[in-house]
Symmetry: C2
Subunit: 388 residues, 2 copies
Amino acid sequence: MGKDSILIVHGGGPTAVINASLYGAVKEAKESGQLEHIYGARNGTGGLLREDLIELGTVPDEKLALLLKTPGSAIGTSRDQLEQEEYERMAGILEKYGIRYVLFNGGNGTMDTCGKLFRACRKTGTDVRIMGIPKTMDNDIAVTDHSPGFGSAARFIAQSTKELCADVRGLPIHVVVLEASGRNAGWITAAAALAEDGDGYGPDLIYLPERPFDEDRFIEDVERLLKKKTGIVVVASEGLKDKTGKPVVEPIFQVGRSTYFGDVSSHLANLVIRRLGYKARGEKPGLLGRASMSLVSRVDCREAELAGRLACRAALGGESGKMVAFRRISSSPYEMEPFLADIDEVMLHERTMPEEFINETGNGVTERFKEWCRPLLGGELDPMISFN
Amino acid sequence: MGKDSILIVHGGGPTAVINASLYGAVKEAKESGQLEHIYGARNGTGGLLREDLIELGTVPDEKLALLLKTPGSAIGTSRDQLEQEEYERMAGILEKYGIRYVLFNGGNGTMDTCGKLFRACRKTGTDVRIMGIPKTMDNDIAVTDHSPGFGSAARFIAQSTKELCADVRGLPIHVVVLEASGRNAGWITAAAALAEDGDGYGPDLIYLPERPFDEDRFIEDVERLLKKKTGIVVVASEGLKDKTGKPVVEPIFQVGRSTYFGDVSSHLANLVIRRLGYKARGEKPGLLGRASMSLVSRVDCREAELAGRLACRAALGGESGKMVAFRRISSSPYEMEPFLADIDEVMLHERTMPEEFINETGNGVTERFKEWCRPLLGGELDPMISFN
């Protein structure tokens, strides 16, 4: 009988470093010398169900290294919602291919899949070790201090905010609104506050989805600031809701299960124009915030690779039904300790910003948040200079 | 009597390298040893009229070097529209401060200002040498092969497009529309085509403002492509107009002289959703396209510095009423020759894309355009890898 094989499956939206975790997992698997095949499921769980597997074990190292520079998911990912019977079918496919180790790289939904497959395999008596690799730009996975993918999204928004602040300072546009990802969790939006590190090019207002958004209060905030300076930068979550929980931007269309919302950035800019008559514009980098390779955080990339390696190592070592997680030892100097969390503790628990990280007036963050977030950006942002 | 002084004035919207030209001009002025003061006008021509001058000659070199990393305008810029009498008042102020050299760094509007001040000085008998430094992300200045600022905006849109293509390939969203700057000239939008260099992650459709935009044709283009692939990337100019010249997005508001348009990206995404029922989203990096320092083109940065140096050198050498321009000697290998163009030939002539650079069906660019544009990006984009 031949050696066992391993399979890596991606789930949900990609991050700038999902492929770094893939790199770590494949490298670790290759280096173990224990495995016959190192498979990737093409386009997520659906690929596994279609038995559409990619052989990654034979890819030369110099090609694999390109994964560290590639956004999106290099083996494809999906948002498939699976039925109960499909988990049992999956168990059968794993058995058929001699796959004894499965690594799921994804967010809350994927960890749910991971847990369900774990149980299905127990039920069918399939001898498979299943491990989770955390992955989310939104940083909304429970139990872990933070997730791979977030640090790079945080660096993207902090650097972009800083650059917008420099732009607006040189040529005042009264109000520029930058829209940040994270419909329910404000972590990315909040990271914009790190823009002011160093030379003080920081955002003037930050609105998180954790707090109800009040348009009148927003207009007051803007008016007050415009009495003191000629141009201000606002960072707002794409998922702002009013006090009744209704999105501040109306859904514009519904296709199947998906609802399409208008852009918060242009909505807020329009509010300023209409109600105050000030020049305003909204910017929405959108998917670029998870795909920008030039703003990848070194720390994030390293931790993503590590998470991939550790998940593989743990599975080969006999662990199952767990997710690699990080525990913060210290923020300054940054020290982090990986551990294995029970998948049941993780599944579908969405983690939002705690109160201690949001300022009292709900239009900014606290110093504690900045201390927590700063090391994840992976180094200082480039210093700038201004004479005006 | 003391030595003469020099003044640098910024006009119009900043680019990623406007400060590189400032750096070049100040360094050249310092190195000449001929000047008493090296002034910057705070916030453009208005700063000059307010006699609000910044002393740059005493800034240490290591601080000046930060200009190469700083977006926006480090001395401020403006969109001031001047009256005729203000040019003569300006001439008087130059005389008062012993400013014998003035460098205007800007686009078409600024070159117009430059020319008018040149004539006003002739009229008042003020002995001032006035030189223009070309600057525009939109690349719409006449006479020169290209302008500093464009190469970096081109690199930004090409790299962003490539990253979006990788993202969409890994997790199909049927249609992603990326909005590019340039209301009348399609140069930046067109540069998205360079995304496909190397590993083929290119945009599927490109719509330029030089061609009338037909919504039905757009929908047909999208439908045809979606029969062949699961996710497509569309790059569209912010200034698309229909065949009557009317912007495809309605103006949403008017404040003073300014008209505010909605976003083309979300407009086109909504069209796809409503008319085809496909999942679609629009992204609009907006000002980030001129402020992103991590995607600055090395060639662009070097040429911006060079343009600043040459303008200063020409003025000190007795030239006046001219703008530094570039002549293309060869695209491969890239060879470029600077020359001085008469400011009268430049003023307010907006340069759009020539027919030979646009494909026949008006939804893409030609190979000739790509050959012309490629070297300006300043090096190849990072290679990526995909297994799906």
